[in-house]
């Protein structure tokens, strides 16, 4: 990052000049196109005025200071993270006049991305074979629950339900307990990354061979890949696998141990005899390294419960970060269980700068906010979010008139007939629940009213 730039050429964004039509909803595709906006693409997000992106509702996030404001649909946390740096056009695709505008946009763009269930684009005759009639070099990228072929093709799907169906819940859960989900909307993010991988491959393909292609991501099979080695174990050894909580399937010990303080935890994982000896020294029990009960990996697997008690007795007197630091200093894998506040304030996170600050224009009344950037750094290509997420329909005029060249009369007609809009025509109910109530209801572990000061983001 400190290297001198030569003629600005080194830092040209790799997707500069690329136009993406982004008909996206929820997490997977909006995030993918948000990342591509970071990489320099012009992303035009299309939403229906009657059915804007579901992340514009506050259900799965929160408003700044928990205040819905006059335009709650523009203010939700997750929407604003995912859709950074895009343009917004609110266009009713259910009506033919709206689809005519979309067709013009497809003609003027490089990439068309959508995450409808497969029948929708086919029904509008805008699936890949039809879309390429509008634009021969078009790259099209689709994301659906199960993909357009097969018996489940038209089944609705969300990450929450797929997490069971794609096999991850079967191997997740406390030891001996019931199957569980973990995390949030897990498979959506696999889809995000697959969509960017597929689009970048397609761009290289077009660059090399002068032709577009269709990328078809089905979330179900991506999720199934997370248990690929378990599927092989079944195919060959007829083993179904079991739920083992936080233990390692073949190494011991490994677990999550309670530390000093309220709800503070540290994970520990030992991979060989040498690390076991290092752990024993670190916790002040060097004699255990010679103890026959723990002398080999298989002995430690057998006597895991005893080891858990020994490690927990040591962690109980330490903060989670002190436990992590001491074990890591001795060469033993350990990690404090960080929550969302730690994610913002931990010294390593701060030094790395995964979180970036987006400044909103004053009229939006949202101040500046930290959002997740990208987990990869490129040594010669400084990247950052290129601006806040747009308000609904913010770029209607710019896109239709400046880009597509619609005259004033045609634009006014589209506005008057409600094909274009800047407000949801059927606003979703806003979740109004105080932060204290969210804690009482168990939706939050706690609320930190001082967060702005801690982040240094006072208005």
């Amino acid at each position: 990052m400190n290297e001198k730039k030569t003629a600005g050429q080194e830092t040209a964004l790799p997707l500069a000049g690329l136009r993406i039509v982004d008909i996206s909803n929820v997490f997977s595709l909006p995030y993918a196109t948000g990342l591509m906006a970071d990489l320099g693409a012009e992303v035009i997000k299309i939403e229906g005025p009657a059915r804007p992106d579901t992340t514009r509702s506050g259900i799965s996030g929160v408003f700044p200071e928990n205040e819905p404001g006059a335009d709650p649909w523009n203010r939700t946390s997750t929407y604003n993270l995912l859709n950074r740096g895009k343009k917004s056009v609110a266009l009713d695709l259910r009506r033919p006049e709206g689809r005519e505008v979309l067709k013009d946009l497809i003609r003027a763009s490089d990439v068309l991305m959508e995450n409808f269930t497969p029948r929708v684009m086919r029904g509008w005759e805008l699936d890949y074979p039809n879309a390429t009639k509008l634009n021969a070099r078009l790259i099209m990228v689709s994301c659906s629950g199960y993909g357009p072929q097969g018996p489940y093709a038209q089944y609705p799907a969300q990450a929450t339900t797929l997490e069971a169906t794609h096999g991850l819940a079967h191997v997740t859960g406390y030891r001996g307990g019931v199957p569980s989900k973990a995390g949030q909307s897990f498979v959506d993010f696999l889809a995000t990354w697959a969509l960017v991988m597929g689009t970048t491959l397609a761009l290289r393909y077009r660059h090399r061979f002068g032709k577009g292609l269709w990328v078809d991501v089905g979330m179900y099979q991506l999720g199934c890949y997370m248990v690929a080695e378990r599927i092989l174990d079944w195919e060959v050894n007829k083993r179904l696998g079991e739920r083992i909580g936080n233990r390692h399937p073949w190494l011991a010990p490994q677990g999550c141990y309670r530390c000093a303080g309220d709800d503070q935890w540290c994970v520990v994982s030992v991979q060989d005899d040498e690390e076991w000896a290092a752990l024993c020294r670190t916790i002040g029990r060097p004699e255990l390294a010679q103890d026959a009960r723990f002398a080999s990996n298989s002995a430690r697997m057998r006597n895991h419960d005893d080891i858990d008690r020994i490690i927990a007795a040591w962690t109980a007197g330490l903060s989670k970060t002190a436990a992590m630091e001491r074990l890591q200093a001795a060469g033993v894998r350990a990690g404090a269980v960080f929550d969302a506040r730690d994610m913002h304030l931990d010294p390593h996170a701060k030094a790395r700068g995964l979180l970036e600050t987006v400044q909103f224009p004053p009229e939006r009344g949202m101040g500046k906010r930290a959002i997740i950037g990208r987990p990869w750094r490129l040594s010669k290509l400084p990247l950052s979010a290129r601006g806040p997420a747009p308000t609904l329909g913010q770029h209607n005029r710019e896109v239709l008139q400046d880009l597509l060249g619609y005259d004033d009369a045609r634009y006014a007609q589209l506005e008057q007939s409600g094909i274009l809009g800047t407000r949801p025509t059927q606003p979703r109910p806003v979740l109004r629940m105080s932060m204290e109530e969210r804690v009482r209801q168990g939706r939050l572990a706690y609320w930190d009213p001082e967060y702005k000061e801690r982040l240094g983001m006072q208005d």
Binding site: F27, P179, P347
Partner: protein, 397 residues
């Protein structure tokens, strides 16, 4: 038919374990010539279960097979000067190096990106580590559970009355691999513009954090910190038992609440106390009881079909590896491919992650045996037969 999209690339895979090798495999799936370079003793991935017929033989790890499909394999001791010299020779022709050593290790051998790019300005090096190349934790060791803990995802896994819970298996490793391939593609696109390669610094901790798009801005927008769910009274949207297994459904993204009530055949779900999302949280305990009772005589297969086809509800059932092995949907998506492995024999492997209308992933060869391609690779890079013999004697290959 046009060539595969990455078939003009030579990739050297120095990585070990799961994330790095799978990243390099994804490049191989799209046509890159990937040469896996292992220490003469073989990488740790060869010792990872499950094994073919549970035989812990270095050529029988099914996990290794999966992560190293489509690659050729050589052995080379980079710590011996002659080994490092041969690696430099390969690196001059390479487009991409994938590596997962601790930060600073390759520099100590004079094989870091800054050194190698002097002879090959277009070289991309994708470095995959637990905590990245910079920052106070850069030398920390990591693995699946350490990434889960430090990323923030584990703090919201499991129930509030117990310890935080990770996902089973190795999803953090797979997620990191996907980001590695993605970032490598980005670096290659940048190279097409500038002619210059660069180093990609990928942190496993950050790859997992990047999936927390609800959790992270909850704090930066309003100071909210999510935790683990309560053990009861909030099961809707979680895994629930039915007659022969487990299911999960949720209200967002499907039909109306009334339709959900009709699917479960329980009119009382339409009561005032369940009328909106807040009420359904507040009265979650009663809600759970009604749904559990409604599901106890119904099977997973029947509910999956009925909910998906007649009510258009997003509906999931807990499937096992056996179910996935027999799944007609995966069949229709060509998820499985067959390969012939010299030791294991013919085997069907989970392969295709997504589909493309052209240049789709192809399964061309099994994982390499240890040092299987030494002769052909080192000969191509200018080693004579006598030289290869000497290298072998000295344990360099």
């Amino acid at each position: 038919m046009l060539p595969a999209v990455l078939d003009d690339l030579l990739v050297l895979d120095l990585s070990q374990g799961i994330a790095g090798p799978f990243c390099a495999r994804l490049l191989a799936d799209y046509g890159a010539d990937v040469i896996k370079i292992e220490q003469p003793g073989g990488e740790c991935g060869r010792r990872m279960p499950p094994f073919f017929h549970d035989d812990p033989h270095p050529e029988k790890s099914l996990f290794f097979l999966l992560l190293n499909l489509n690659k050729r394999g050589v052995t080379l001791d980079l710590e011996q000067p002659q080994g490092a010299e041969i690696f430099r020779r390969l690196a001059r022709s390479a487009d991409v190096i994938v590596e997962s050593f601790p930060p600073g290790y390759l520099a100590s051998l004079g094989l870091d990106h800054a050194t190698l790019e002097k002879d090959n300005p277009g070289l991309v090096m994708t470095s995959i580590t637990p905590f990245g190349q910079t920052g106070p934790y850069r030398r920390y060791k990591g693995n699946e559970i350490v990434a889960y803990a430090t990323s923030g995802i584990m703090a919201i896994g499991g129930t509030a009355d117990r310890e935080p819970l990770q996902h089973g298996g190795f999803p953090a490793q797979y997620e990191t691999a996907m980001n590695g391939m993605l970032a490598t593609n980005v670096a290659l696109l940048a190279r097409d513009l500038t002619g210059l390669g660069q180093q990609v610094d990928l942190s496993m901790q950050e790859a997992v954090t990047s999936s927390l798009v609800i959790n992270q801005p909850y704090y930066s927008f309003a100071g909210g910190v999510q935790g683990r769910r309560r053990p009861e009274g909030s099961a809707f949207g979680q895994i629930m038992p039915c007659k022969d297994g487990f299911f999960v459904t949720q209200e967002a993204g499907g039909g109306t609440w009334d339709e959900i009530a009709d699917f479960f055949g329980r009119g009382e779900l339409k009561d005032e106390r369940f009328a909106d999302p807040v009420q359904r949280i507040v009265n979650g305990h009663e809600l759970d009881a009604i749904i559990l009772d409604a599901a106890k005589e119904r099977t997973m297969a029947e509910m999956f079909k009925t909910a998906s086809e007649q009510y258009r509800m997003p509906f999931g059932i807990v499937q096992t590896p056996e179910d996935l092995a027999k799944c007609p949907q995966l069949e229709a998506r060509e998820f499985y491919q067959e390969v012939e492995h010299p030791v294991i024999g013919k085997i069907r492997v989970p392969f295709r992650l997504w589909n493309m209308s052209a240049s789709a992933a192809t399964c061309r060869r099994p994982a390499p045996l240890l040092g299987q391609h030494n002769l052909e690779v080192f000969t191509k890079f200018g080693c004579s037969g006598a030289e290869i013999g000497t290298l072998r004697e000295r344990g360099i290959i």
